[in-house]
């Protein structure tokens, strides 16, 4: 190695190493994500990154849709303190209920519970507690990174890597006293990372019958 370095200039060596690092990083990045349904790739092209926190506002369906593909591939998923989650909708998206863990009412132990769940479950959908201190949330982030599991927060979270917000939602099928809810269109804004800049907007169509 030394002999090679001696022949080539330091700049070219640096460049070669840089290229190698970036190539390794990029492959790891793809491994480092949970897959999402083909329909959801418009929202998150690379899938859900492992070990991060996503904060979702405005739609529970979106959380279920994001989790579905990973669950279908045999990943264990968890639901913490979302007592009103519609199971039929979850099953409709294709989430495997046999590998879904439902934890209710953690009370004071919210933080330790979510940590314990993140240790073994790949994806956890949570409703955040009323108050989260910055230190607690960064401790949890570290734990998530270590366990390589992803948390989807239904609401605001102080240190989320990505924020997904439903800007508007519209339905077809329902008229003035007739019909029934059928297809849905969601306008979704995704803010990736903590860097400033305009969020990416995308449109998501959810047909009534064939969700999967």
């Amino acid at each position: 190695m030394n002999s090679v370095a001696a022949v080539e200039s330091p700049a070219s060596v640096r460049q070669a190493l840089q290229a190698r690092i970036s190539s390794m990083q990029s492959t790891r990045l793809d491994d480092d994500a949970f897959p999402v349904l083909p329909k959801m790739r418009g929202v998150l092209a690379r899938g859900l990154r492992r070990g991060t926190v996503y904060s979702l506002t405005g739609s529970t369906s979106l959380a279920l849709a994001l989790v579905a593909a990973a669950s279908q591939q045999g990943e264990w998923c968890g639901v913490l303190d979302v007592p009103d989650l519609g199971l039929e909708a979850a099953a409709g998206w294709g989430i495997d209920l046999d590998r879904l863990v439902w934890v209710s009412d953690p009370g004071e132990r919210w933080m330790s519970t979510v940590g314990a769940m993140a240790d073994v479950l790949g994806l956890v959908i949570v409703r955040p507690p009323t108050r989260v201190s910055a230190s607690e949330s960064s401790r949890l982030s570290a734990r998530l990174r270590q366990a390589r599991s992803t948390m989807l927060v239904l609401g605001d979270w102080p240190q989320s890597e990505s924020e997904i917000t439903v800007v508007s939602s519209s339905w077809t099928g329902l008229g003035d006293g007739h019909g029934h809810l059928a297809d849905r269109r969601l306008d979704v804004e995704v803010r990736q990372g903590q860097r400033a800049g305009a969020p990416r907007r995308s449109q998501l169509r959810i047909p009534a019958g064939t969700i999967r």
Binding site: S59, G86, E88, G92, V103, P106, V120, G179
Partner: protein
């Protein structure tokens, strides 16, 4: 098979249910004398009665009231089939000390092959006498019948007298002994009336028929009955095997009141129990834990496992039972004196072998969630499943972690179900709502299922009202219309508010509530 090799001894205890019930009642220190006539009641009618009661006119199948009318001093107790079989177990072990291979035909009646005991005790008469003598110490009058077939021996035992408690039908004459007995002896409610209509009034008549012809006309049941009538039936079924005691029993002296101390104390016993089971080639899939506290309280609970119990799982279940639903901080209300663990369901371990590559990940999940259950209290961690029901909230079934999932009735047609998509939020407690028409009048549905006016705005709790941009309904939901207490009758509406949010509203008793939200 020669006649001597198929000889059968049948031991019968007259009025066994009564004997068993008496033993049970005496165990609870009830002052009881044998002189009191007694009857056991099963579903409102007399199931069994003592000889005194029979003398007073009480019969099997009589209504309780009628029995009490005929015999006013009658002692009435409910029939407990479980206790009945349990008590007979003791009786069988007494016989087993003398002769092996006892088969229980039903509580109060058991059969043994006669050849061995007859040879050992020097004759059938002597064998019967030995058995009776052994039983006479703990039980009153056991009767013995010996014949060429189990059915014949049973009939012989049933036809003994108190003065002559043993009846031996000589080899080769069993068919002749059975021949004059009425056809109803077969005790087959489906077959007996038909045979009687065919003019067969005794077992001899029936046994005289050609076996093949009986098989053609009456199939399996007929062939079985024919074999019994012609004394060619053989002993079948498994022999009674003495049950090894596989449970664990831990007593604490002095009594303990801290959960972790108790859990620690139980650990060794749990480990040896699981090891013993493994040694017998078994795994435990359900167990019963009984906790007895110093104050004499007993708490009993059965636990089942999605796979099978390991020693740590057993300790966890003890812990959960002591904690109740209170979580890690909770403990038993009084110091615990004793913990009994008995496996209530076991399975061959070959059915539970791990795969070649193991099930490591799932096991990790199981361990972590079991720990979480201990932390938060049993029931906080659960696996959800879809159940049946007309209302959305009742279709959600949560099975506590570590319990078995119940059979769901999800696939039944549930009329009134709403077309897909399913709402992502289903309120466990419906949210009160207010829905008004254009003039501010409440929207309601009349008996014919039509709305009085089109809904224009709605409001939840104290929130500001939202304009309704589209709606549909009412869709009627009727539940248990036959049950006046539990019946529910409601009308469903789908509505979209001005923000684009879709709701499933329900109108019941002129009150509006949100059942679900399509968010």
């Amino acid at each position: 098979m020669s006649a001597s090799s198929s000889r059968v001894i049948v031991v019968w205890v007259p009025d066994w249910p009564i004997v068993a019930a008496r033993q049970n009642l005496q165990a609870t220190d009830l002052d009881l004398t044998d002189e009191l006539p007694m009857a056991l009641i099963d579903r409102g009618t007399v199931f069994a009665c003592s000889s005194l009661a029979r003398a007073a006119g009480v019969r099997r199948g009589l209504a309780v009231r009628e029995a009490q009318l005929r015999c006013p001093e009658l002692l009435v107790a409910p029939y407990d089939a479980q206790a009945d079989s349990r008590a007979f177990e003791h009786f069988v072990t007494l016989i087993e000390e003398l002769v092996p291979g006892v088969r229980i035909l039903r509580p109060g009646l058991c059969a043994i092959r006669a050849r061995g005991p007859a040879r050992f005790y020097g004759g059938e008469q002597q064998a019967a006498a030995t058995i009776r003598q052994a039983l006479s110490e703990s039980l009153a009058s056991a009767r013995v019948g010996i014949a060429d077939s189990p059915f014949g021996a049973e009939q012989a035992a049933l036809r003994t007298q108190e003065s002559a408690p043993v009846r031996i039908i000589d080899p080769g004459t069993t068919r002749g002994f059975l021949a004059p007995l009425p056809i109803s002896t077969l005790d087959d409610a489906a077959l007996v009336p038909v045979l009687r209509r065919l003019g067969l009034h005794t077992l001899g008549d029936f046994a005289g028929l050609d076996r093949t012809a009986v098989g053609v006309r009456f199939a399996e049941a007929g062939l079985r009955a024919h074999a019994r009538a012609s004394a060619t039936d053989r002993l079948s079924g498994a022999e009674h095997a003495p049950e090894a005691d596989l449970g664990a029993d831990v007593a604490f002296e002095p009594a303990l009141d801290r959960v972790d101390q108790i859990a620690f104390g139980v650990r060794a016993a749990a480990e040896s129990m699981i090891e013993q089971l493994a040694h017998a080639g078994l795994v435990c899939t359900a167990l019963l834990i009984t906790v007895t506290s110093e104050s004499g309280d007993r708490s009993e609970r059965s636990w089942s496992h999605p796979h099978h119990f390991s020693a740590a799982d057993v300790v966890d279940r003890v812990r959960w039972q002591l904690q109740g639903s209170g979580g890690a901080a909770a403990g038993p209300s009084a110091p615990v004196e004793r913990i009994e663990i008995s496996p209530s369901r076991v399975d061959a371990s070959t059915n539970h072998e791990a795969g070649l590559w193991g099930t490591s990940l799932d096991e990790r999940v199981h361990h972590a969630l079991a720990r979480l259950s201990s932390l938060l209290g049993h029931g906080a961690v659960s696996t959800p499943s879809l159940g049946g029901g007309r209302f959305l909230a009742e279709r959600r079934v949560l099975v506590p972690w570590g319990d078995e999932s119940p059979q769901t009735q999800r696939d039944l047609p549930w009329p009134g179900s709403i077309p897909p998509p399913a709402p992502a939020t289903v309120f466990s407690a419906p949210r009160r709502a207010e829905v008004r028409g254009a003039l501010g009048e409440p929207v309601d549905v009349d008996a014919r299922g039509t709305t009085n006016t089109a809904p224009v705005w709605m409001a939840f709790d104290q929130a500001p009202p939202l304009t309704i941009s589209a709606w549909a309904g009412p869709w009627p939901v009727q539940q248990r219309w036959w049950d006046s207490d539990k019946r529910r009758s409601a009308a469903r509406f789908q509505m979209i508010d001005s923000t684009g949010m879709a709701w499933l509203l329900i109108l019941e008793d002129h009150t509006w509530a949100a059942e679900a939200r399509y968010d």
